[in-house]
């Protein structure tokens, strides 16, 4: 493997371990507080709404809308410089979490991306985990 790869997340950080383990099974996991119903994302061991530690692990259907994006023309990272222009995006999942990712499956990034457009998760496979990207729905 060349060293020009996407930077992958660590599987060893306690808060985010379960999330990234879930991606191996193409599950987009998030948490909901059993006490106050707050959606917690990124994952933590406590609820950000009421500090309860009684959190339920849920799986998103992977559908959402484009909250905002930018087409990156210049990156100092060799993998992303090779990908440019690529779209970095905040996606609002239907269940509530807002996730930062990339858009994929776009024919012409200069004309085919629109604020608010519906998107759906597209998994990019790696050894031991998958990366959740989003494509037009």
């Amino acid at each position: 493997m060349s060293d020009v790869n996407r930077p992958l997340p660590s599987l060893d950080i306690p808060d985010t371990r379960e999330f990234w383990q879930g991606t191996k099974h193409k599950e987009l996991r998030y948490q909901q507080c059993a006490t106050c119903s707050t959606i917690v994302f990124f994952p933590r061991a406590h609820c950000t709404g009421c500090t309860s530690s009684d959190l339920t692990l849920k799986v998103s259907a992977g559908r959402g809308h484009l909250y905002s994006y930018s087409l990156v023309r210049k990156s100092f990272h060799p993998f992303f410089e090779g990908l440019a222009p690529y779209a970095v995006a905040w996606v609002d999942l239907e269940e509530g979490p807002r996730i930062l990712s990339n858009l994929t499956g776009i024919d012409d990034p200069f004309t085919d991306i629109h604020m608010g457009m519906p998107v759906t998760v597209e998994w990019e496979e790696h050894e031991g985990l998958c990366i959740p990207l989003f494509k037009p729905a």
């Binding site: 996407r6 930077p7 992958l8 997340p9 660590s10 950080i13 808060d15 985010t16 999330f19 959606i39 994302f41 990124f42 994952p43 933590r44 909250y67 905002s68 994006y69 930018s70 087409l71 990156v72 023309r73 210049k74 990156s75 100092f76 990272h77 993998f79 992303f80 990908l83 690529y86 970095v88 995006a89 905040w90 609002d92 509530g96 979490p97 807002r98 996730i99 930062l100 990712s101 990339n102 604020m115 608010g116 990366i131």
Partner: protein, 408 residues
């Protein structure tokens, strides 16, 4: 060239507003070099700046009894910095919140002086990020970053996503954002230090710019162009803040700290990224100062990018949320149009004068220059200024520090 600001806008006389004088900026220095080619260390920049700022105040190293440090030269700054300076301060504050650190330091210095813990506070900054080509690198051990780093989001794309959303929600245009770059360059061209900075950093064209120049420049991360982005320089500076008793005997006219506010913001599910932490820190600072945004003569607003300034001006209450693009249009923020509103970043800002990574200290320095009457784009009669720092990333997690200053 000086421009006189109409005094009628003031709701009250400044001397009444300043009835509660508890701490003042008495010494300032901006390190003059923006590209040290690795020949000077950040610590040396800090010490050289401290010496000059103390001279400016008419004070000595031995007068300093409180140190404020953002830790930019490494971990355990509170341990190393006093030794390096050769001081034994009673107060050591290492609040580190990126570019807004110095607004926090000013707020904390005033608090420490008010409570009698200190009399002379020293804030310093030094950076050679340009020489070392060291750029923003999020800490991947943070769980938040471990969820985001795979996306290749850059510093610029983080702000660009705020700009896109601002355009989408409010109809803000690229031309309106460009107003910020044009106004700050207009001021930079009057500041010999800024002109020299642009020369030393190899700017291709060093001249006043137009809206067309900015929107016609290369796109780096849609919708932001290269001229929407700050420079990357070396540099540093120092600020000395003192008690009223000390301030009375200093060489220069004191610049009083009359209101401060601190706040933080981070990504939230369903949140609005067009609103910054400034919407929380600004009202706190204005309420403490007992003044309104319309009374401000000089707005020193963190200009990492043009969108940063438009967002922050709205959040600080200079205009309504979403109306910033319209409000800044027509050259309103130039120093020679003082009746239209505050003069913005009269030193040339991070866009065109000085941005070594954490620009917040220069906001205090130029605000103090204006209230002393020492700016290269001086607004005559300027008596109230705001310095608002934004540290971290506007489009995700950041800290806001607001400081309101009044001249005697």
């Amino acid at each position: 060239m000086h421009f006189k600001r109409q005094p009628v806008k003031k709701l009250r006389k400044v001397r009444d507003i300043l009835s509660d004088r508890t701490a003042a900026i008495v010494g300032i220095h901006e390190y003059p070099h923006r590209f040290v080619k690795g020949e000077v260390s950040p610590l040396q920049i800090k010490a050289a700046s401290a010496e000059k700022a103390l001279q400016d105040a008419g004070l000595n190293w031995s007068d300093v009894d409180a140190i404020y440090d953002a830790g930019e030269v490494g971990d355990l700054a509170g341990l190393y910095i006093s030794e390096y300076f050769g001081l034994k301060p009673n107060v050591i504050d290492t609040t580190s919140v990126g570019g807004s650190s110095y607004e926090y330091h000013a707020a904390h210095a005033r608090r420490d002086i008010e409570t009698g813990k200190a009399k002379v506070a020293l804030l310093t900054y030094g950076s050679n990020q340009r020489s070392e080509r060291r750029f923003f690198d999020p800490d991947a051990t943070q769980p938040a970053d471990n969820m985001e780093n795979f996306s290749g989001s850059t510093l610029i794309s983080n702000y660009a996503m705020v700009a896109h959303r601002h355009m989408y929600q409010y109809g803000t245009t690229a031309e309106q954002l460009a107003e910020i770059a044009v106004a700050t360059r207009f001021h930079a061209m009057r500041n010999p230090q800024a002109v020299k900075a642009m020369q030393d950093l190899g700017f291709p064209e060093i001249r006043e710019t137009t809206i067309a120049d900015v929107v016609g420049s290369k796109v780096i991360s849609d919708p932001l162009h290269v001229l929407d982005c700050c420079m990357v320089s070396d540099g540093g500076g120092a600020v000395v803040i003192a008690s009223p008793e000390v301030a009375r005997n200093c060489r220069k006219k004191p610049v009083w700290i009359i209101g401060t506010g601190e706040a933080t913001k981070y990504p939230e599910n369903g949140g609005d990224i067009t609103i910054s932490a400034g919407a929380q820190s600004g009202p706190t600072a204005f309420a403490q100062a007992g003044i309104k945004p319309a009374e401000i003569d000089i707005a020193m607003i963190y200009d990492s990018f043009t969108i940063t300034v438009v967002t922050l001006l709205e959040d600080l209450g200079f205009c309504n949320k979403g109306e910033g693009g319209d409000w800044v249009s027509g050259g309103r923020l130039r120093f020679d149009r003082p009746n239209d509103g505050p003069a913005l970043n009269t030193d040339g800002g991070g866009l065109s004068s000085n941005q070594p990574g954490m620009r917040g200290i220069f906001l205090l320095i130029e605000a103090a220059r204006q209230l002393r009457g020492e700016s290269t784009s001086q607004v005559d009669g300027a008596s109230l200024a705001i310095a608002h720092g934004n540290g971290g990333l506007l489009g995700s997690r950041h800290a806001a520090g607001t400081v309101i200053l009044g001249g005697d």
